[in-house]
Symmetry: C2
């Protein structure tokens, strides 16, 4: 479950169509096709609507810079370089991550529809937005949907002080009748980088158990951690479970390693610690779909998923707790509001969008 | 990674053959076939050799009781109740968990050899020992091996106070040239139940972040938690990531839910909270294998796995740390010692084995 609307200062809700025109328009001016622009816009706007601004339109500026720096090739097409009836390896050809991921997701669904399961690994891609976007699309086809990706390095393995692993999110989505797809979409690190940035901006100490310094020891100074990450001095964010083994930090470290092996390992692409070198991103992804009817009547199984989930949802709350949430529930509740109100942005993102509209001569009023 | 030899008081190393004769012999006297006895003995002894005594021969007494109580049917055979080219649902028919799991693992490997991937879900089973035992066997066939199981309920979802989820371990094993299979085998809870028991016995407080009381609030009293678990009063162990969302407890809760849905959901079996009711175990498992050559030359991919792992292994250590461990490394290091010294047991387990040998007239000297 992603932290929804957490530590986010709303400035305005913007018309979805206007935001879409800015994202798509600026990308097209940089050489993307209409379809590529559309896919990126949809992905980023979905993140904002769900209350995940760290993966929303705030990213647009960085994508445009990456295109201009040659990290992202707006014109390349992903290539299938290896394929069986239920698996494929895709070379992203340094193209825009969301489009490559869309092609890989479509291929996953197509193979699973035919053979029961599909697994696609991708190398030489770029940032692809929220992992759950793809897992959810797969689940909408009556499958259990999986997606995972490695990322720029910022996580330190248990007992290490090297900034070597990515936040390496895993998303798993199930078809269920909850009014939204049940989905766990989680970084395998204890926190996302965005939390550090907010604490640094507000000059607030971070709790012990989130990060280590360049020596590999607990620190509560978010500014120091960010400096070390920028300067590649060592240290960074801890894996889920925190420092050492007392609270299971070795488990989060294990989950991050599983993601490295399933993405960079299987695709023979770059691991997190070799991404963004030599002028290209080198991000690797995994997509998988397993048809629910491989195990019997899909309606009965979907009903079973629903009843298991509702049993947990309606359990006795901890004294003082407001609610027990299912994963993806908060996101869809945010989405239901934002789809009417518009894309929620903070002041910096608003200014960025106004500036991009102006610079690219898009003439979109916000 | 399982906590190896942690909080374990060694009394003696016992001859592997002698322990095997007691496990197999007593189970056969209770009506198991020779093969079933062998499989259980191998599984329990492997756990002890690897330094995981919580899943070792100490369990034998409970298995024998379960047979006598009718929870485990020693004579039943698992049945395949649904099958496609790459998937199956197995009804464990309340048989002994390790044997049912062996049959399901064999089927997984057979299907994956033929079609590239195999996924088997199991219902109506019993405790199956360490999850990694099965994932590792699948990985030895040149596949990525997966296994997961639900368990008796003892874990509390984020913001709940109900003891509803199991410790729900996940094991993922990869072929690699490390001298041992790389494997992450982890309960999705912050700690296993055994840790609580040791703290209670030693009258030591537990760290805040391991458990909650019957109201769903942090407690440091291990005795209270164990009492609540026994009396089904609520509370219990926290998911990986601890209490609330600050350290990602909702992520461990998500991983546990994924296991419930993939085991009890897909097999239409019992979720953790309905196990051990009405006189049967009702435990559900998942097994899966994905052939590495679905993605290209298996040798190159295995080499890639190895080099990625060794890069992390040989990274800069945190100041003061002895070593960066890979998952399964400690276990195999323990195994290398114990395979020569014998099965390590504590005093209580030694006494139990002596007693079982006597009661069943097995005449095994320890």
């Amino acid at each position: 479950m992603v932290f929804v609307m957490d530590e986010f200062e709303l400035y305005k809700h913007l018309k979805i169509g206007s935001v879409r025109r800015i994202v798509q328009g600026s990308l097209m001016k940089e050489g993307c096709t209409r379809v590529k622009g559309e896919v990126v816009a949809d992905n980023l706007i979905e993140a904002d609507l769900r209350g995940i601004p760290s993966h929303g339109v705030a990213r647009l500026q960085r994508y445009l810079e990456h295109i201009r720096q040659g990290v992202i090739d707006p014109k390349s097409k992903p290539r299938v370089v290896y394929q069986t009836a239920l698996s494929a390896v895709v070379d992203g050809m340094n193209g825009i991550g969301q489009y490559t991921a869309k092609v890989a997701t479509d291929l996953t669904i197509k193979m699973a529809k035919k053979t029961g399961a599909g697994i696609v690994v991708v190398r030489n891609s770029n940032h692809y937005g929220i992992a759950g976007y793809y897992a959810e699309r797969i689940a909408k086809s009556g499958m259990i949907g999986f997606s995972a990706t490695n990322t720029a390095p910022m996580v330190v393995p248990t007992f290490s002080r090297e900034t070597i692993l990515g936040t390496n999110p895993i998303a798993v989505a199930f078809p269920a009748d909850l009014g939204y797809p049940y989905m766990v979409d989680m970084a395998t690190s204890v926190i996302p980088r965005g939390k550090l940035e907010v604490h640094a901006r507000n000059k607030k100490a971070i709790p012990a158990g989130w990060c280590v310094d360049a020596q590999g020891h607990t620190t509560t100074d978010p500014g120091e951690v960010l400096e070390n990450l920028k300067g590649k001095k060592g240290g960074g964010i801890l894996p889920l479970g925190g420092e050492g083994e007392e609270f299971g930090g070795h488990k989060g470290y294990g989950l991050a390693m599983i993601v490295e092996l399933l993405t960079a390992g299987l695709s023979l692409g770059e691991p997190s610690w070799e991404t963004y070198r030599g002028g290209h991103g080198g991000i690797c992804h995994l997509f998988a779909g397993i048809r629910v009817d491989l195990f019997g009547d899909p309606e009965r199984i979907t009903e079973r998923f629903t009843s298991l989930l509702m049993k947990v949802k309606t359990g006795n709350k901890a004294c003082g707790a407001k609610e027990i949430y299912l994963h993806n529930e908060k996101e869809y509740r945010a989405r239901a509001v934002n789809i009417k109100m518009g894309v929620p942005v903070d002041r910096a993102t608003y200014n960025m969008l106004v500036d991009i509209s102006r610079r690219y001569g898009l003439g979109v009023r916000l």
